[in-house]
């Protein structure tokens, strides 16, 4: 391994990818102050109508869209128009960003200091930056970074400032607003704040959507938001949220802009700042409310090393080309464009598919650090060593051999998502055993779980690479025979079951199946004939690895099913679901009936429940018993058995699902 472990830009495997440039290098060699005060003259959208932030709010308040909604709300509620108008102004006041170059300069200075302490390097693909610069001039731009850390949006603005690109306005959750000083600082660095939920509030929606659209249409600034809606606690990409994507696409559908560039950005952290916070949160220690003092307390992170960050600015996607042949824009010809209308099914499907496509693009451009592969292997080994009669641990030679094997496998599955780097040792994370006398077994379990979940979050970074082949491997395992058709049914069942857990494009079962087959045949793990799917002699290792990768999820979903069948009473509400299943799982883990500590992850539990709700095996009651879960025991039972391979996936089951 030693000879291969040299960092290299020239690696032939990297050729399809852009090269990365470390921007911290320059920061370490020149004055941060001069950098913060540098001349900043970004290129702007060619159709820009320059205006100040204040003028922007006026444009929003005077838009026909808002006028329409205000008078509608006033009619419905009987309130005076002025009154509603005032409310709209207040909403806008609360929401609006106040981007100021001076604040950005302040951040440029302080963040330089912070980044240099925290990170070894921040690597950016400069070709991506050039593409973005081009895109910004041509059309309004929407930046869509992956979301793993609070760091993400400051980092984005920092990078754009560094490269002299137009600073974005960023949709941020209202929770930041709680942090008085910081909230305002963020506002002045371009953040605008959205309430987390405003379901039926027509006025709020109107102000919000008009505000975003106005900034976008006028080329005021690139609009940035997180497709995943919130930070992923597991490092897996989250199912995209469609609200904001719907809003930004609307001006194109209605012909108000010629085109728009959607730019997926993949931010890969070697180690996420919030790492152990996330694990604790998923184990039931609630996340601390964002507060300024909390931020200062968190400054101890400054003394730690968080490795490197890779930021990959993906290929800008032209919305026009994306919509070509899929969206008939003349559907908006018959109603004035300022009257809000529910998007047609055609549009909804299009937005949904685009969102998945963009999240997949984020995934594909993530950089896989060697630690990620290592974590996948260690985690599997850890689980296997839990079995009786196994010695824990693995010899370093063996581990090295396995990592190299896995690296080669991953390279066959994807276009170089990984960076060659010397693996350096880390003492702070990892499935290490620590025992002290005065902890209860439950406390010990939970503290071990924190480590396992942290470790799993590394493995999860590689999941998207292996996901489709792994689902196929599981399907082969579960299928009643080697018949291709049976394997496909089984694949399609699993895929459907897990589509809340992983990014699986709706309706793309056949493509995914074919892709998985292709990859596993390419690596020589499978032989596929007209009728049959056969595992080759040398493919065994691959198949076992892939199956083990998804095994914790498979087991986890089964446990959720079992819990619902055995423990769910009439009164189980959605709120109580997580605490009660947590108790249930802890019991089973302590009794040694469950192998995977990972199953304690509330993320997995929620996803499993969402899948069961989607499949109709569980129903959420409305009315008096609002939030109560009604379990269809027969169905849940049969799903559990099918997941466990006790029941064959029949055509019927698949069809019904």
């Amino acid at each position: 391994m030693a000879s291969k472990a040299v960092y290299s830009h020239r690696d032939p495997m990297l050729k399809k990818r852009d090269d990365f440039e470390d921007i911290l290098e320059e920061r370490r060699n020149s004055s941060d102050l001069r950098y913060a005060l540098k001349c900043y003259t970004p290129v702007v959208y060619k159709g820009i109508s320059p205006c100040k932030a204040d003028a922007l709010t006026n444009m929003v308040l005077q838009s026909s869209h808002l006028h329409y909604v205000i008078s509608q709300v006033s009619k419905e509620t009987g309130r005076a128009v002025d009154d509603v108008q005032d409310e709209a102004s207040a909403i806008l006041e609360e929401m609006a960003q106040r981007l100021q170059l001076s604040t950005i300069r302040f951040f440029a200075f302080t963040l330089s200091k912070v980044f240099k302490t925290l990170f070894r390097s921040i690597c950016v693909n400069e070709e991506g930056i050039q593409r973005l610069q081009q895109a910004i001039q041509e059309h309004p731009v929407v930046l869509l970074p992956s979301h793993r850390s609070y760091m993400d949006f400051l980092l984005m603005s920092y990078l754009l400032y560094t490269y002299d690109l137009a600073l974005p306005v960023i949709a941020a959750g209202m929770d930041f607003m709680g942090m008085k000083f910081v909230g305002e600082m963020l506002r002045m660095s371009g953040a605008f704040f959205i309430r987390r939920s405003f379901g039926g509030d027509k006025l709020y929606w109107a102000v919000f959507s008009e505000y975003v659209k106005t900034m976008l249409k006028n080329g005021y600034a690139p609009v940035e938001f997180f497709l995943e809606g919130t930070r992923s606690r597991t490092s897996k990409s989250l199912t995209p949220k469609l609200g904001l994507l719907n809003i930004v696409m609307d001006p194109f559908f209605k012909g108000e802009v010629f085109d728009m560039s959607l730019v997926p950005v993949s931010i890969s952290y070697e180690r996420i700042l919030e790492e152990s916070l996330y694990a604790r949160e998923m184990l039931g220690v609630p996340k601390p409310k964002e507060s300024t003092s909390g931020l200062f307390k968190a400054r101890k992170v400054l003394s730690q090393n968080y490795g490197s960050i890779h930021v990959y600015f993906g290929q800008p996607v032209s919305l026009r080309s994306l919509a070509e042949g899929r969206v008939n824009r003349s559907q908006f010809s018959l109603v004035p464009r300022h009257i809000p209308k529910r998007p047609s099914e055609e549009i909804q499907n299009f937005v949904n598919d685009s969102a998945y496509m963009l999240v997949r693009a984020q995934e594909e451009n993530m950089v896989l650090k060697p630690w990620v592969l290592l974590a996948s292997l260690l985690l599997q080994n850890h689980h296997q060593s839990q079995a009786p009669g196994q010695k824990p641990g693995m010899a370093l030679d063996e581990l090295t051999e396995r990592v190299v094997w896995l690296r080669d496998l991953s390279r066959q599955f994807t276009v170089v998502p990984e960076i060659q780097e010397t693996l350096y040792l880390r003492g702070d994370v990892g499935p290490k055993e620590s025992r002290s006398a005065d902890t209860t077994p439950e406390e010990e379990l939970l503290s071990r779980a924190v480590i396992v979940l942290s470790c799993a979050s590394y493995r999860n970074q590689a999941l998207h690479v292996f996901l489709r082949p792994a689902l196929l491997a599981l399907a082969i395992h579960a299928a009643a025979s080697t018949k291709k058709r049976e394997v496909f049914y089984s694949f399609s069942f699993l895929r459907n079951m897990f589509s809340n857990e992983f990014i699986l494009v709706p309706g793309a079962t056949v493509q995914d199946f074919e892709e998985a087959c292709y990859l596993l045949v390419k690596t020589g793990a499978l032989q596929i004939t007209q009728q049959e799917v056969l595992v080759t002699e040398r493919g065994h290792r691959t198949i076992v690895f892939l199956t083990s990768m998804l095994d914790p999820f498979l087991q986890g979903y089964q446990v959720v099913c079992r819990f619902l069948c055995e423990e769910a009473t009439e009164e189980l509400t959605e709120k109580q679901f997580i605490p009660s299943i947590r108790r249930f799982i802890i019991k089973h883990l302590l009794a040694g009936r469950l192998r995977y500590t990972e199953v304690l992850s509330s993320d997995l539990q929620k996803n499993a429940l969402a899948a069961l709700l989607r499949l109709g095996a569980v129903q959420k009651l409305k009315g008096v018993d609002q939030g109560t879960l009604k379990v269809n025991t027969v169905m849940v039972n049969s799903l559990e058995d099918t997941l466990g391979g006790k029941l064959p996936t029949q055509k019927v089951v698949v069809a019904r699902l």
């Binding site: 159709g47 012909g255 108000e256 010629f258 008939n328 824009r329 003349s330 908006f332 010809s333 004035p336 464009r337």
Partner: protein, 576 residues
């Protein structure tokens, strides 16, 4: 008027307009316009060359003169019995190749391009010149009897491929030229109507009516050549529709000969509630149902006073906002048109050589005032041209009202000359395409109508789509892609697009051109624009008819066609 082929003899057979009028670059490389017919005739246009070269990347070194070859026409397919019986009626006809080719096309780019290359597709097998309504009745009867395909021909100014002979047509195709039916049959001064034969050409109709002190006020840009029957058949629109109305507002009574017989109303009441208006089956039928032979039209006393005008706006957005306001206040002058910046520059390039130092000094002063003193960006400003008509006092009052509105939108009055030149250009612009075609530049215009709130977006998107498509299709030089708002209505406007590009380096320029035009039309429809405001559908745009009028709508039109012309005698295959 008089002899059978009068117009044909003085007009180009493979280009626009009169044979004596054309642009060319003289030995010094300056553009000149020949002839005596237009204000621009005989003048030198010094700036045109530079504009032409810098806009298109064209060069006077690279010339593509037309290939003159009118003999490669297929011999006619004649229906002998039809010809025999026709002879006995005494109606003049011809199967001379030149007569047939002349009536085989309109003025779409691909049609003219093919002619210049000496390529002829299917052309009519013979031409008939009926002299009156009764002649037409006889011809249609004979055609029905002998199953001959008839294509009515008026002024030949179609830009929708409406005159193209369907290549799949196996019957003998007869071009029914209405040019001899060009008389005003009577004028009714009590009701202010005139009964006119449908073959009359626009400028003759106006001239003859003027002699009696009247006018129709219907002035489409093609009025020098287009015919009354053609206007009715395509739902034409005139420049001064704000005062006089479009053709549907002007027509009181129509007589049309169909294979089923003659269709007409029994009286001339100014408005009727007698079921769907049968005139609306005729107007826009594009020669698919029959031949319009006689029309009763409204006439007006000639206006006492006419005044041109122009307004410069700092940008197109302001200009559109002003036109919208003018429409809202319903105070539009006889004509109001807004050109975008590119067209403004184009209009500038067409300024003839100034005769005196004084005018040139004045021009310089004006330019200085607008760009330096008022701060208008020469690359953004745009200009509206105006035409006022009526009695003198009211015109002046009206003028003030419009200029006051314009001022609210940052508009500056820019003089009568600019306005007048703008309208004059309308008539010579078509000649310019022929000049471009001599130098590897091809172009075309097309139009749409669109609600007010969509005007700016549609202009921007369609122009950009054209640029984008040209680039994608391998056009080496950036195209000219420009637009103007030519008519205002209560609820929207008519928008005209012009586009042209240098096709050097392209193996099939016409195909590229057609793809771009197709894409532009898709863009128009996607942006809430109509399929056509007044050019019609013809064969060029009929693929979009179903989505435009719905399947039921198309079925309605088809059932009318099936009843009126079950054997498809009027077989030009337009529209449906």
């Amino acid at each position: 008027m008089g002899s059978t082929q009068a117009l044909q003899e003085i007009m180009k057979w493979n280009g626009w307009g009169y044979s004596d009028s054309r642009f060319f670059f003289n030995k010094k490389g300056q553009a000149e316009f020949t002839g005596k017919r237009y204000k621009l005739s005989g003048l030198i246009i010094p700036a045109l060359k530079d504009w032409f070269e810098s806009t298109f990347g064209a060069s006077l070194q690279h010339k593509t003169p037309p290939i003159l070859n009118s003999s490669a026409v297929h011999p006619p397919t004649l229906n002998e019995t039809f010809v025999e019986e026709l002879k006995s009626t005494g109606i003049p006809f011809s199967h001379d190749a030149e007569d047939r080719v002349f009536r085989a096309h309109g003025h779409c780019l691909h049609e003219i391009f093919a002619l210049r290359e000496g390529k002829f597709g299917r052309v009519p097998d013979m031409v008939i010149w009926p002299n009156c309504h009764n002649d037409v009745v006889k011809v249609v009867e004979l055609a029905s009897k002998h199953n001959v395909c008839l294509i009515p021909y008026g002024g030949g100014t179609s830009v929708s491929s409406a005159l193209e002979c369907p290549p799949e047509e196996t019957r003998s195709i007869v071009s029914l030229d209405t040019s001899q039916m060009n008389h005003i049959l009577w004028i009714d001064e009590k009701n202010l109507t005139a009964h006119v034969e449908a073959g009359i050409v626009g400028q003759d109709l106006e001239r003859l009516l003027n002699e009696s002190g009247y006018c129709t006020g219907h002035e489409p840009d093609s009025m020098e050549f287009s015919s009354l029957g053609g206007w009715v058949a395509t739902r034409a629109s005139g420049m001064k529709k704000n005062i006089y109305g479009n053709i549907e507002d002007l027509v009181v009574h129509i007589k049309m000969v169909t294979p089923r017989g003659v269709i007409e109303k029994s009286c001339q009441g100014p408005r009727m509630s007698t079921g769907p208006d049968i005139h609306h089956f005729i107007m826009g039928s594009e020669g698919t149902l029959g031949v319009v032979t006689e029309v009763t039209m409204k006439i007006r006393p000639m206006p006492e006073y006419q005044k041109y005008g122009s307004v410069v706006f700092p940008n197109f957005e302001q200009g559109v906002a002003c036109l919208r306001e003018v429409a809202r206040q319903r105070c539009a002058p006889a004509s109001i048109r807004l050109m975008d910046n590119e067209q403004f520059k184009f209009g500038h390039a067409l300024k003839p050589q100034v005769s005196s130092i004084f005018t040139s000094f004045l021009d310089g002063l004006k330019k200085f005032y607008i760009t330096k003193f008022k701060g208008f960006d020469p690359n953004r400003l745009c200009v509206a041209t105006l035409l006022f008509e009526g009695d003198r006092e009211r015109v002046l009052q009206h003028e003030k009202q419009v200029y006051d509105i314009a001022a609210k939108f940052g508009g500056l009055a820019a003089g009568e000359d600019n306005g007048q030149r703008g309208y004059m250009l309308t008539f010579v612009i078509a000649y310019l395409r022929d000049l471009g075609m001599d130098y590897y530049v091809i172009g075309e215009s097309f139009e749409t109508s669109v609600p007010w709130d969509r005007v700016l977006d549609i202009c921007q998107n369609v122009k950009e789509r054209i640029v984008r498509e040209c680039k994608d299709k391998g056009v080496q030089f950036p195209p000219l892609s420009t637009c103007r708002v030519t008519q205002t209505y209560d609820a929207g406007a008519c928008v005209y697009f012009y586009f042209a590009f240098n096709y050097r380096g392209l193996s099939d320029p016409v195909h590229v051109y057609e793809q771009v035009e197709h894409a532009a039309r898709e863009e128009i429809l996607a942006n809430g624009g109509s399929l056509s405001h007044h050019h019609g559908v013809g064969k060029l745009r009929k693929e979009w008819m179903r989505e435009t009028v719905s399947s039921v709508g198309l079925g309605m039109l088809k059932s009318v066609k099936d009843f009126v012309d079950p054997n498809n005698i009027f077989g030009n295959r337009n529209l449906l």
